[in-house]
Structure formats: C-alpha cells, structure tokens
C-alpha cells in the first residue's frame, strides 16, 4: 500500500461536494484525525498481497514496517469486504461524521483506489461498457453526488459522498514477477497500457489487436478515475449478515461506536433473526418507501447495495426527475423492481441462517416462515410509509404481483410464498395498529423458538402479521369458508387481491392450513384434513434420530401432525401414521371414499384429491387408478380447477405439482413416466391434471403439454403390436378445453386467478 498524490476537488461539473459539518476519526491509540488529514492522505492498494491477504493495512508515511496503530501513520485502512472489493475502510476506533442536514455517520470508506490488479473488463453498468478494475469511473459521479444529497436532505439513510480527490498519477505494475515494483504513470499512459493488455488477451476474429486497442482507447477517452470518500452508517453490507461471524462483528462495531451499556446488553440478547426479520426489514421498508415517494429509484437494490443498517449505497444507478439530470419520472416498473430486489435480499440473507437439518424440525419451518415474515414486515412498512389508502394499496399490490410473474425456470413455490407475503402485508396494512396488541408469544410459537425479544424495541413486530392473528386467520379458518366454500367471505368486498389471497391459500399455504388447524382446533374440517393428508402424502419411513435432509424433516413434521389427527379423529384413521401413499394404493378411490366418508366433500364437490409429491410413486398410482373404466384427461389451470370445485363438478382431481413435473422432465425415466400417464389414460375416470399448484403459469402448462405430446408419440413408435391408430390415441380433449391450452387463454386464466372468478 502506498499513499497517493492526489488533488482534492470541490465537486464534479456543477455539482459540489458537501463538506461535513463535523468530521472526526479517532484512532485506537486515541489520536484524532480531522477531515483534511484523512482526505489529504489517500491510501492505495498496490498489490494482491495488500488486497487480499492482509487483514489490516496501514497507510505508511515514511517508516517502513511500521506496526499497526503506530503514531507515525496517518490512519490505517482495510479492505471492505463488499461486492466489488474496491473499497477501503478507515479502520478507526470511532468515527463521528455529520453532514449539513444533521445526519450522522459511523464509518468512512474510500472507493476507487484499488490498484492491485488494474485491468479493463466489460461491465453492463459501466458508462462506456468497460471499466478498469478497482477504480471508480468519473462519469457517474455527478449522479452519485446528487442522489446522495437528495436522499440525505430528506432524511433517507444513504451513503454520504463527503470527499472527492483525483490522483495525480496512477501506480502501474511494471514487473509481473514482482508485485511490489510499480511505476507512477499519468492517466493516458495507464489507459494505453491497459488497452494493450486487453487487446492481446481478448483476441477477436473480426478485428486485429491493434484495432481493438485503438477502439478501447477511444471508447474511454472521456472517462477519468476519481476517488471518493464515503461516510456511511456502517462498514458492513446487509449481504454480509448472512455470515454469523460477520454479524457478530457488526454487533461489535455498533457497541464500539456507541458507548452505551444498555445497547451492549440489548445486542447481546438480540437474536440475529430478530434483528434481520423484525428490525432491519422494517427499517428497509420505510427507507425504500421514502425514496420512492421522493420520485427516485435505486435500480439495483441487492443486499450488497444496502448497509447492514438499511441505508443505500452505490447510488450511480439511481434515477428520477428530482436528480435534475434529465431523467424521466420513475415508473411502476422501477418501483416494483426495487421492492422485489429488496425483498430478495431479505430472503438471501436469511438463507445464510438456515439451520442444520439436525436441528429441531421447527427450525426448518421457521426459516421459511422468517423469510415470509421479513418480507411481510418490509412490505407492510412500505405501504404505510407510502400513505396509501386501501384501494391504492390493493392496486399497488396487484401490480406488484403481476410484475413478479413466475418464470419458466422459477419454482412455483417461491411465487406462492411471494403471494403469501403480499396478502399478509395487505392484511397487516389494512389491519392497522390495533393488531399490535394481539401479538403475544403464545400466538407466535415459531418465533418464540428463536427467542425473539420483540418487546425490546418499538419497531419490532410493529407490523405484526395480522394474517396470523386476526383478519386473515379468522377468515381463513372460519367455518363459513372451509365448510361452505364461501370464498368471497374472505373479505367484505371482492377485489382482485382477494382472489390473489385465494391463490395463496390454495397453493403453498397448505402447510399453514395444518399449522392453523393445530392452533385453532379446527382439524375436523374436511379441507384441513385434506391438507394434512396431501402434505403427508410423501411421508416415508423416517428415523426421528436421523434426519438427513430438510424434506424428510418436513415429512417428519407432518407425520407428527397426522398422528395427532389420527388420535383425535378416531380409530377409523389409524392408518394415517403409515405413508399415505401406501394407504391410497391399498384402497381403490371408491373404497377410500366409502371408508373415510370425509373425502366426500360437500356431496362430492371433489371426489378425491390426490397430491403426488413424489414421482417415484407415479407409476404405481396410475396402476391403482387402472380400476377406473372411463377416461378423459383434461388440462386446466388451478383457477379452472377451483372453479370446478366450487361448482361441485364431480371430477377426480389429480394435482401434479410443478416440482414433480420438473423432476419428471429431468429424470432419465421421463419417457417411462409419461408413458405411464398415457398408457393408462384411456382407463381413467374423468381426470383433471393440474400442473403446478399455482398452475396459472401458462408457460409451464404449455411446455409440459408439448412434452406430453412428444412422449406420447415416442411411446407409440416404440410399441409394437399396438393396433390403435395414433389419431385415436390422442387425448380426447373437448374443443373448449383444448382451447384452454393456447398461451393466450392460459394467460387469461392466469389473470383470472388474480381477478374475480
């Protein structure tokens, strides 16, 4: 590491740097560095050794090999382990910076002075499509400075660009074998050398290396490389909190910065999950909403562009009219993108806290729930901060769900949970503050497991999910709903969002059915029983002492639930503790219906609900169904299935979830499995195949339908002695239903899923 010769700049173009109202860096040895001492001594990383191996770097002046914290050093600096790794943190005992708006900052970092491995590489976010590794291009700085000021002025936590310097010359390695040798060169020389390296390494067919070099030099001719000093609330990015050790460091940092014994005690007792789920998520929701209210979007709100305290950094992607740079007004799409990315960051970080499969079974369930809670809290606070009225919130959330349509490669489950988040946030939002007092530990057993001390801070669980405790639970588990299928009673009015809620209920919420059944004692409800039944359908023999994976842990959970139900429902259901698939296979559907009675749901609205959560049993199931004499296969989406259920159409519904379909598509046994479907199809009773519990994913339906067709013809070609003509073996799809297979129609059906039926 060397000290760069730089010149301090007062601004970029017409945009001036706001110098701090107060700036104080206290070194661990007690020495205090002021603004000029820090800004005037820019450190630069000059070797890989500096950049990656040394935990703590010391900016030296004259004394070589000086010890850390030596009084001769201006200040120590270390690499900030952020996404790009081009930021140095000033390693101080304490940092106290205040901007002109009265905002306070506890960390100062230096961006754009990493010369350890300067090379040109392509970057989608770079102004000219290419950027020099480790450096900060000048063209975005005006936007960064303006965005920083605008956000800070309005009390929105964001990085504060408090200093700007331009290097006089740039250190460049001259001997690849000796990383410590470097030469200080002016910018044109650096650019030419790096362009030459690029041209020789990135060989092209259509251009000579000399042409590539000349083009690159021209491309970068108006780009300069400046170094910014950034004051931030914390030197940790949110993404780093996925690592428990880093989270401990983060807590240490907070304690060091704030000499408050109460804080120390509080943080010691603050479970990380509580912080991330209930405090950070809430804070982030408020901050994002404030930014959007201002007419600004961030654009890349992933976990590395948010600090561990929820403020925004890397503002070069910020857009919006108020920046005064000629931007168009931000659109709903910009807003939705920020929200989706921010929520994704919550999920990603919580993934890092996934408990071991050997943990208590509730651990797994709780992590998934925590990811839902965190997003709910985020979104609820967002809605509140935006000051939406009820109808505006509904329109906003409906748009958000439309924006987040499932992709072909996306597991439907993630979208289903997204729907849960949206519905939960909606309920919390319209529920208002009155639901806060409803929260107690008894109501939140899963959270209790994580020892969440939500009463320690006002904001904790301020957005308590009314879904579980009031609005949603009452309606979800009301007798009216489950017994009489009065879906519209979910809410007084019938708005698109309520259909969305239904979709969430119909999809991934099965496990919530079971949970609520347990909590509410409504386990005699047919729907709840079926939920438990279907979720338990893939239960295999599990040794409680040896749970090798999450799925088995999940199964084990439902085995327990099933046992409880068996106990309460009587001897008739003693077989429930066996794998349900075995249970079903040993009985014809008719016998099953006769024996259980409970499957005759409201006079046969659904004769039988079969949920296949394991493709290995696929073929056997169809062999079991071979008992049925007539056949008709109908492909519909879940909305249509529910409509038929509501209309009490006497169909057998076979739900094939997306995960199974995906598995079948990938397995070497794919053809065999599809063959099983078509080999027996003509013997089935009316059979509805729902591909995907949220089968409003038209692409999935269509693709799988085509795969079915292909597999069928392969099957025919491979089967000798089959007297039937291929045409006759085509699925006997009524015209009206066949029409449903068109992409447009499926899309309409999907939309219908989110609109009133």
């Amino acid at each position: 590491m060397i000290r760069l010769e730089t010149q301090q700049l007062s601004g970029f173009n017409d945009t001036l740097i706001d110098e701090p109202a107060h700036f104080e860096v206290t070194l661990p040895n007690g020495q205090v560095r002021d603004y000029d001492a820090v800004i005037g001594n820019t450190p630069a990383v000059t070797s890989e050794y500096d950049a990656y191996d040394q935990p703590q770097l010391v900016l030296q002046t004259e004394v070589p090999d000086v010890l850390p914290w030596d009084e001769e050093v201006h200040y120590p600096a270390g690499r900030l382990a952020s996404f790009h790794g081009r930021t140095l943190e000033i390693l101080a005992g304490k940092v106290a910076v205040e901007d002109q708006f009265g905002n306070h900052y506890q960390s100062v970092s230096i961006k754009g002075s990493d010369f350890s491995d300067p090379h040109i590489f392509s970057s989608e976010t770079a102004s000219r499509g290419f950027i020099i590794h480790g450096l900060q291009e000048s063209l975005v700085l005006e936007r960064v400075i303006r965005a920083s000021r605008l956000l800070r002025e309005h009390g929105i936590p964001a990085e504060y660009i408090c200093g700007l310097v331009i290097p006089d010359k740039f250190p460049m390695h001259t001997d690849p074998d000796n990383p410590d040798t470097r030469q200080l060169v002016p910018l044109p020389e650096l650019v030419e050398a790096l362009a030459a390296d690029y041209a020789q390494e990135e060989l092209e067919e259509s251009r000579t290396p000399l042409e590539v070099k000349a083009d690159m030099i021209e491309k970068l001719h108006d780009v300069d490389y400046l170094i910014t000093y950034r004051a931030m609330d914390a030197p940790y990015r949110f993404g780093e909190l996925a690592d428990p050790d880093t989270l401990d460091e983060f807590y240490d940092f907070l304690i060091r910065q704030n000499d408050d014994p109460n804080l120390h005690e509080y943080l010691e007792e603050l479970h990380p999950m509580t912080y991330i789920v209930a405090q950070f998520a809430v804070e982030l929701g408020i901050n994002v909403a404030k930014m959007h209210k201002l007419g600004v979007s961030h654009g890349f709100l992933h976990s590395e562009n948010i600090t561990a305290l929820g403020s925004f950094v890397d503002l070069d992607s910020c857009r919006g009219e108020p920046l005064g740079l000629g931007d168009d007004p931000i659109t709903d799409k910009d807003i939705y993108k920020d929200i989706v990315w921010a929520m994704r960051s919550l999920v990603d970080v919580l993934d890092g806290w996934q408990p071991s499969p050997h943990d208590d079974i509730n651990g797994f369930l709780d992590i998934t729930s925590m990811q839902v809670y965190a997003r709910e809290f985020f979104l609820t606070e967002y809605l509140k901060e935006r000051s939406f009225d009820k109808s505006a919130a509904e329109a906003f959330l409906t748009g958000l769900v439309s924006y987040q349509q499932p992709k072909r490669t996306q597991h439907y489950g993630s979208f289903a949970r997204f729907c849960e988040v949206v519905t939960g946030a909606y309920c919390s939002f319209i529920g208002g503050e009155e639901h806060i007092k409803d929260v107690n530990e008894e109501d939140m057993p899963s959270i209790e497991n994580y020892d969440l001390h939500y009463d320690r801070k006002d904001t904790v669980f301020r957005a308590a999910p009314a879904r579980f405790f009031k609005e949603f639970r009452d309606r979800l588990l009301s007798n009216n709903w489950s017994r009489n299928h009065e879906y519209e009673s979910l809410h007084e009015t019938d708005k698109p969002l309520h259909s969305l809620m239904k979709a969430a209920i119909r999809s991934d919420s099965l496990r919530f059915f079971v949970r609520h059944a347990e909590q509410s004692g409504l386990i005699d409800e047919p729907a709840l029983f079926m939920a438990a039944l279907t979720m338990g359908s893939s239960i295999t023999n599990v040794d409680p002492e040896n749970v090798p994976n999450k799925n088995q842990a999940l199964h084990q959970y439902f085995v327990r639930q099933g046992e409880k139900m068996v106990e309460q429902l009587g001897d008739e259901y003693t077989q429930y503790d066996k794998p349900v698939m075995e249970f079903l296979l040993n009985k014809s559907l008719g016998d099953l219906k006769k024996q259980t009675g409970i499957l005759d749901w409201e006079n046969g609205a659904i004769t039988s609900l079969l949920y296949l959560n394991g493709a290995t049993q696929y073929e056997r199931i169809f062999k079991a169904l071979d008992l049925q004499p007539q056949s008709k296969i109908t492909y519909i989406n879940v909305g249509e299935a529910m409509r038929r259920a509501v209309n009490k159409q006497d169909d057998t519904i076979l739900i094939l979830d997306y995960g199974v379909a995906e598995f079948i598509a990938e397995t070497p046994r794919k053809d065999d499995l599809w063959k099983a479907v078509f080999g027996y199809r003509h013997k089935f009773k009316p059979l509805i195949l729902i591909e995907g519990l949220l089968a409003g994913e038209p692409e999935i339906c269509l693709v799988h339908y085509e795969e079915l067709e292909d597999a069928r013809y392969k099957n025919l070609e491979g089967e000798e002695g089959d007297n039937e003509e291929p045409e006759k073996l085509k699925p006997e799809l009524p015209e009206t239903v066949a029409g449903d297979l068109s992409l447009d129609t499926l899309r309409q059906n999907r939309l219908r899923l989110f609109s009133t039926d």
Partner: protein, 130 residues
Amino acid sequence: MGEFEANSRQVISQEDFMRVADGLLAHAEDPSKDVNECLVSAQTLVQGLDDVKAGNLHVEPPLSEEQVSSYRKQSQLVIALGQKSVRALQATSERRGFLRRRQEPPEPPTPTAQQPARPAYSGTGSDAKK
C-alpha cells in the same frame, strides 16, 4: 532513406527492403508498443515506399505492384489507428484538466468554513471551474 540503407547508387536489394519493411510493420502492429512508436515505424515504411515511387530509392529486383500496395495499405491502416489513439489519449489528458488547475489554483468565489474552495472537476469536457 532512414531504415532503408541503400548503397551509393541508392539501390537496395528487394530482400533487404522486405526484411526492413516487414520489421517495421511488425513493430507498428504490435499492440504492446507505445502508440507513438508504432506511428513512427509505419510512417517510416510509408516514407520508404514514397522514396521508391519517386525514384530516390531503387529496389532490385523491383517490388511488384501488389507488394507495394500491400505495404502501403497496412502501414496506412496502422497510421490511422495510431492517430486515432493519439487523439483519444490527448483528449484524456486534456479532460483531466487538473494539472492545469494545479498550476493555476482557482480563486475561491466566496470561501466559507462549510465550503472551502477547491477546484471543481469537469469530466465531460465542459469549461473548468475557475
């Protein structure tokens, strides 16, 4: 005549001419070389070709028209690329602007404790703040 060393009668063998010309071109087309050096090499080759054309330099046996055309085309391409790079690098240097400002520190308009005067940077070529 530069690199093309002819005898007293200004005659150079075709073999020697091509050896020198190929060397100049190789140097000129080497992207790792300094762009100004590349320009000089290419321009030297063009000068040699001009001398041949003007009768100041005789190549024995004479170069074919194709050979002359090829050398000229390649060297002119290198010159064009080199000049393009030189102009861009010059622009890079000029747009920095800070060297000039260091020599002539700007006068602060109204320096205050909150906002001491420092040169504003113009990275897009607009007028430097004075």
